[in-house]
Symmetry: C2
């Protein structure tokens, strides 16, 4: 099993604000994909759609103390059964966001792509909270071929 | 052992141009850190310096067919002994860049940070080749605390 790891820190932002951006449909639509529907609270299923496809995530945990964990229940076969894990903590007026996308069976090329793409979406989350404006799909940062 | 994986594709660029940006001091200074010195050819040692510190890399392989591999011989203890590996290939007029930073002993928080930071530097490499202007340190993209 291999995993994608990332970290960003969000300036002048409390963990509760980042938590809201991870656990509400409006919040998620502001940085990951505008086409987000479903129920982003614990036990719910969130449907994220992008021009080329999408993912359904079951919310395994949404703890206001700063931990959110999703299981991919539909999407590309490499993603199904993997988990996306978020940990938040306050530090000197910033919120540190630790991210893991874990449970990949193999370090395939698609995983390389997703790792870089996650980084750009985490920067979008950071920008949303710091400036009020993220870069969710379909206005996301392109890292490769038209994607 | 755990690893950082990334992929970008560079538009309208031949692999030879990306190879030059990885195997010349001027090329490396254009996207990673302006303070790059040393010998970036096979067998050489490259010294990358950033405001908070830096890394020395021994060039284990520099193959014009599209493979470059470095070993970290000095720097933060988590980095020493790890390898940075680049594979390049042409695809439909683009160059696909597959990146691995492998051999981390543990998935520590610093590894999360470095993963996201590498993504921004790969975007800097892509921008340098596509637009003529990258974002090397000290003018790099900040992902967290002043870094």
């Amino acid at each position: 099993m291999v995993e994608i790891l990332h970290r960003v820190a969000v300036a002048s932002t409390a963990p509760e604000k980042v938590y809201d951006a991870l656990t509400t449909v409006d919040g998620l639509a502001g940085w990951w994909t505008s086409d987000t529907t479903g129920d982003a609270s614990e036990g719910g299923v969130i449907r994220f759609r992008f021009p080329p496809g999408g993912f359904d995530m079951k919310v395994l945990e949404a703890s206001p103390s700063g931990h959110v964990r999703w299981e991919v229940v539909a999407g590309p076969e490499e993603w199904v059964g993997t988990n996306v894990d978020w940990s938040l903590r306050a530090e000197d007026g910033w919120t540190v966001v630790l991210f893991k996308h874990e449970g990949w069976a193999q370090p395939v090329e698609f995983m390389h792509h997703c790792s870089t793409k996650w980084a750009t979406y985490l920067m979008s989350l950071k920008a949303l909270l710091e400036t009020g404006s993220g870069a969710p799909a379909p206005d996301d940062v392109h890292i490769a071929f038209p994607d």
